[in-house]
């Protein structure tokens, strides 16, 4: 009987420790910029959602397209209406895996370089992507950031000939999230 009690408590503890090994945010920052000699376009999103499972290194992002803010209101409207079609495809998502998760010690402060690979879905099109980034562990919280490049063309985002010189073929994306432990 005692053995079962022990097993039971182990299970319960084991389960709670798995719970504590998740980190999340609802106000992650995602910025993209397109730089051409004619025009520099930059947009900021401060409402990215991210969950990281420290136990197995899985990481997921969801970003509301309409939450991207531009300097020019008309640009923002065109971004939503003509390019991203945010009425039809309201969110961009990423589901991926940190390949070297076992190298990170979440219990003590430190900075770790990580490689993330997974599926990114933008404008209803899914592409396999991978990039490197950093995870900083401090006081039980995480700060993760990464910079990578993406091509609108890969996600079936059509750019008409008249503005082709204004919009870069390769867009720089920067992601920065501060993740707090997830306790339910």
């Amino acid at each position: 009987m005692k053995r079962f009690a022990l097993l039971f408590s182990l299970l319960v503890f084991g389960f709670t420790s798995i719970q504590a090994q998740k980190y999340f945010t609802r106000d992650g920052k995602v910025t993209f910029s397109s730089d051409t000699p004619i025009e520099k376009i930059e947009a900021h999103n401060q409402k990215a959602t991210c969950v990281l499972n420290a136990a197995d290194g899985r990481m997921e992002f969801a970003i509301l397209i309409k939450a991207f803010q531009f300097e020019k209101a008309l640009m923002q409207e065109h971004f939503n209406e003509n390019y991203m079609e945010s009425g039809t495809y309201p969110k961009a998502t990423f589901k991926g895996q940190i390949s070297n998760i076992e190298a990170i010690d979440f219990s003590k402060d430190g900075n770790y370089e990580v490689t993330v690979a997974g599926d990114m879905t933008i404008h209803g099109v899914t592409q396999a992507v991978s990039t490197t980034g950093n995870i900083l562990v401090k006081d039980g919280k995480l700060s993760a950031d990464a910079t990578f490049e993406t091509k609108p063309g890969d996600y079936d985002i059509k750019i008409p000939a008249v503005v082709r010189k204004n919009i870069a073929e390769i867009v720089q994306v920067t992601v920065a999230v501060d993740l707090a432990p997830f306790n339910k």
Binding site: F8, R26, Q69, A73, F182
Partner: protein
């Protein structure tokens, strides 16, 4: 034995729960996610349908320069090159004070009229946490007609030159393609030509758009003026046309039986008759300039 079973059962329940959560990490957040309100944008491409104001506002800090042009009527025939020999023009500018409050000024060649307006969007169509099926705005305009007095010998009052319009605009973006709008309107004229004409004219504007492609939309508007208010020769205004968007410009090309581009004119003084070719070809060109950049927050 029972206890073993019980423990095993518990074990399975926990595993299952763990499994279910493992499936989709983001769904973890969904349960206690404070749902957000998503505002509907771009019900119309411009802040005018054709002549009527749309529920759209000029964004905060943005100046929208507008040039409107109405040629003569098509029934002028070849002699007038189907109206192209004549033109009525309005040059104006709209400015967004906030995303919901805008003002505008303009000057029309038709009856040498200056106009100014203020438009406040007090309701924004949204879904999510706050579900609101329509957008609504209130518009107040004043026009000053500056033609020389017809009878300079008479005792002429400046107030006789003034026209005021009050309009409620209620619209809904039904889906990505279709937006519809109603505009109950009151036009007040301080001076009218005859006793039979009312100083206050009540009218109802109905308008809509169908988005044909990402950059082209078909717009139409009809303004029904309640009977026995204006002189019998005046018609209800009907206009139909396309919005074409190219980067920073919106071109609106249309056919309308109204010459004037301001409320008191196209609502209460439209003379053209669609039945016998009293139709004007015209266009509005809109170009926006960002005067004050928004703060990214």
């Amino acid at each position: 034995m029972k206890k073993i079973l019980f423990t095993l059962l518990l074990f399975f329940v926990f595993c299952l729960q763990a499994w279910a959560q493992e499936d989709d990490l983001l769904s973890l957040l969904d349960d206690d996610d404070e749902e957000t309100t998503e505002y509907v944008t771009a019900s119309f491409k411009a802040n005018r349908v054709i002549n009527l104001h749309s529920v759209e506002n000029t964004a905060a800090g943005v100046l929208d320069i507008k040039i409107g042009h109405r040629f003569g009527t098509l029934n002028g025939g070849f002699y007038e090159l189907f109206g192209l020999d004549q033109a009525s023009i309005r040059i104006g500018g709209d400015y967004g004070i906030t995303n919901q409050l805008m003002i505008g000024l303009g000057r029309s060649s038709f009856e040498k009229t200056y106009d100014g307006f203020i438009k406040y969007k007090f309701l924004r169509q949204s879904k999510g946490k706050r579900n609101m099926p329509i957008s609504a705005a209130f518009l107040a305009t004043t026009a000053i007609q500056t033609l020389r007095w017809q009878n300079p010998d008479r005792d002429n009052l400046f107030s006789s030159r003034l026209y005021h319009t009050f309009q409620l605009i209620a619209g809904s973006k039904i889906n990505e393609q279709i937006s519809l709008q109603l505009s109950p309107t009151l036009v007040h004229r301080n001076l009218v030509a005859t006793n039979e004409e009312e100083n206050d004219v009540y009218a109802l504007g109905v308008s809509g758009r169908i988005k044909l492609t990402k950059r082209v939309a078909l717009n139409a508007e009809y303004i029904y003026v309640l009977p026995d208010q204006i002189a019998p020769e005046f018609q209800n205004s009907f206009s139909i046309g396309f919005d074409i968007e190219t980067g920073g410009h919106v071109f609106q090309l249309h056919f309308s039986n109204s010459t004037s581009m301001i409320e008191k004119g196209y609502i209460a003084e439209t003379v053209g008759d669609w039945g016998d070719g009293g139709i004007h070809f015209g266009f509005n060109v809109s170009r926006v300039f960002t005067i004050q950049k928004p703060k990214i927050k």
